[in-house]
Amino acid sequence: MTTLSIRDLKLTKLNGAPLLGPLSFDIAPGEVMTLMGVSGVGKSTVLNWLIGASQPMFMVEGEAWLGNLRVDVLPTEQRRIGILFQDDLLFPHFNVGDNLAYALPADTKGSKARQRAIKEVLTSAGLSDFYDRDPATLSGGQRARVSLLRALIAEPQALLMDEPFSKLDSTLRQQFRSFVYERIDERKIPTLLVTHDAEDIPHGGNVLELHEGGGVAKIKGTEGASLTC
């Protein structure tokens, strides 16, 4: 895995008022960088920009690099950046297996091989026998897990998470958090997490706190992610 680098990111409102930045930071492989700040400070806009979703309300400047590849100029489907939202957003017209199959890269060929790969992933997450299930019949925790598995099985080079734990109850949240962080660490995926909840910050993780009015960013945590404001 490579490092996800954000260079000179600057958000401006359409009326010209600066919202954030310029801001540069790196997320190392396996690192979870947490982005915090009050609503409206531009957290979601950063995620939208990174994933390549349209945002008619803002002007965005800056570059995003995955190693030596500049990704912010690519269409979403070529960026190889995965995303996890607040809601699990499992495709309701697919069964659980098809949801994963939709994400599994095409280089795993043959329907048997693909099924086997998916079943392995499901089993590793304690969800064996869930292949044919209707997603609507799963519990909240199960759906959350399938949703993460779906993002990961696509072999993303980076992962974005938009308050992925906020809709789960506290016990479930604990479990799902460690479920997510274990897998990110295992696969060494650079990850950007947006959250309101300080408990979501992984142990020793770096935090960017965005402030209103031009965006002062500060850094906590142990290891030195290079940061310029």
């Binding site: 269409p75 489907e77 995303i83 939202f85 499992l90 495709f91 309701p92 017209h93």
Partner: protein, 539 residues
């Protein structure tokens, strides 16, 4: 600044729908309406001794039927949603949505005519021996036309409500507001209608435009001397005399102006209501305990069932003399002697139209402009008569008049925007994060639409197709104009027969006209249910 790479092919396809269906109408309309841009013509129109009362009956029937329909649909929804009664409404709705205006109007005429069911019932009670002298259809004040259109449009608006209610967690909002101490009726007025009504704006305009410019229904039920303004305009436009034609064009323009004014008035009233009710006072009103809510709500379908029943009875009636309530004998002779050719013509015309309109609709919704799409509905808010005439002249110019291609193209003008109208709400409120997720998983926008977005929208898409088919089947003027009279469909047949006296033949054609869209709606519902059979998330 982020650059978005648009796939060029779909973007072109998005524009194709407009280029194909709407753009050619502009020169055609200019040609048709040009004679109206003349002071003398307007003077002649205003001084015409039919104009004033035609204008009045048009205004009365259009505004009256639209308001009545909105009030009825709202009342039914307030009384029945959520609950078992609402399910019953939803179960019956497809039948009556599919029920074509013309067939319904013919059924109503059979009911209320001097020798109709109503008179027969009264005759039995009061021992009349001959039909009464009342003027119940084609009455000078257009009352029967107004009421019939109001009933028909109530069903349409109820269906729009059902689509809007189906996609949001409205019932949770009701529970929440109930828990705050508000009664059912108050929750609707204060919390739900303000959300729903703005989204019903376009359907309401379509209803108003339809009732302003309707010709076929007005011929069957409306006043005759003078007729409504739309019928008058039609008669004048097809007159060989040039001055009369110009008057017809002016009358058509007049209908458009009326519509504009009424929309402005409606918006003004809505704005006024919103400013008046800005700050919630917190007053909790006692709800009325109203026991027969369900019965009352469902009575909205009674005229529909009666109309269907009388059509069915006449289609199988042997001898049936006044004042008997039921035919003396039943026979299938009317069916075995029936001409099925018009039905098959309508079937393939409709199927071809929908198959062309669907990709155009989806392409526009996905890749077309979101901001500037209101004018795509132009065919729905313009009187159909000048458009049909415009189409005829366009087809004439490119030598495609009286051909199947020409007729299908002329149907597209209404099918395409109607399908847009049905789909646009669900389409734009689709959670874009699904598409974002699919693209983040490495799929192109187009492939994500094909395998995620459109399958998830299967219910509104199939509904839009069924509506498109029903719209195509119901086309009267364009089939007549563009087809050069060579394409007899169930619709043109039914209107043509309504002038004659053979109720049995008329009943059979009306039923065939009903059967086509009815089957389309049933198919849409059946296919949706089949597709979602193992997927609760789609239900």
């Amino acid at each position: 600044m982020l650059k978005r790479t648009l796939p060029s092919l779909p973007a072109c396809l998005a524009m194709l729908g407009i280029a194909l269906t709407l753009a050619p109408l502009i020169p055609g309309l200019l040609w048709v309406l040009a004679p109206a841009l003349n002071v003398d013509t307007w003077q002649a129109l205003v001084q015409d001794n039919q104009f004033a009362s035609a204008l009045l009956s048009t205004l009365g029937s259009a505004v009256g039927s639209t308001l009545l329909a909105l009030v009825c649909a709202s009342l039914v929804t307030v009384m029945l949603y959520p609950g078992r009664g609402w399910l019953l409404v939803q179960r019956q709705l497809p039948v009556f949505l599919a029920f074509p205006h013309i067939a319904f109007a013919i059924g109503i005429a059979f009911l209320i005519a001097p020798s109709g069911w109503l008179a027969r019932g009264l005759a039995n009670l009061l021992e009349w021996s001959s039909p009464p002298q009342w003027i119940s259809i084609r009455d000078p004040y257009a009352i029967s036309l107004t009421l019939t259109m109001a009933i028909k449009e109530t069903w349409f608006l109820l269906w729009i409500m059902a689509t809007l209610l189906g996609e949001q967690a409205i019932s949770r909002q009701i529970t929440l507001a109930n828990s705050l101490g508000y009664s059912r009726a108050q929750v609707w007025v204060s919390a739900l209608f303000p959300q729903l009504l703005p989204r019903m704006g376009w359907p309401l305009v379509a209803v108003l435009a339809y009732s302003l410019s309707v010709v076929d229904m007005a011929v069957i039920l409306g006043p005759s001397t003078p007729p409504t303004l739309a019928v008058l305009s039609w008669q004048w436009l097809t007159d060989p005399n040039e001055m009369t034609q110009a008057k017809g064009a002016a009358a058509a323009l007049c209908l458009m102006l009326l519509l504009g004014l009424l929309i402005l008035a409606g918006r003004g009233i809505w704005w006024g209501i919103k400013t008046l009710y800005k700050n919630p006072s917190g007053v909790r009103q006692r709800g009325l305990a109203f026991k027969s809510r369900r019965l009352f709500g469902l009575s909205v379908f009674v005229p529909g069932w009666l109309s269907l029943a009388i059509l069915l009875l006449w289609s199988v009636a042997g001898g049936w003399f006044f004042p008997r309530l039921f035919p003396a004998s039943l026979s299938l002779k009317s069916f075995s002697n029936a001409d099925f050719e018009p039905m098959f013509t309508a079937l393939w015309l409709g199927a071809a139209t929908v198959m062309i309109a669907l990709p155009l609709t989806l392409a526009w919704l996905e890749w077309g402009s979101r901001k500037h799409h209101g004018w795509l509905y132009a065919p729905l808010i313009l009187p159909s008569l000048p458009i049909a005439a415009a189409q005829y002249h366009v087809l004439l110019a490119i030598n495609l008049d009286s051909t199947a291609v020409g007729v299908i193209w002329s149907h597209l003008t209404w099918t395409f925007p109607y399908m847009l109208l049905v789909l646009v709400g669900p389409y734009y409120s689709f959670d874009t994060r699904y598409l974002c997720t699919a693209q983040a998983l490495g799929h192109s926008r187009f492939s994500a639409c094909l395998s995620i977005k459109w399958p998830m929208l299967i219910r509104p898409i199939l509904a839009a197709m069924a509506v498109g088919f029903a719209v195509s089947v119901a086309q009267y003027l364009p089939t007549l104009f563009s087809g050069g009279g060579r394409f007899a469909t169930v619709t043109t047949e039914a209107v043509a027969l309504s002038a004659g006296g053979n109720r049995r033949v008329l009943a059979v054609q009306s039923l065939l006209q009903t059967a086509l869209p009815l089957c389309a709606f049933m198919l849409a519902i059946g296919l949706t249910a089949w597709y979602a059979r193992n997927r609760q998330g789609l239900k």
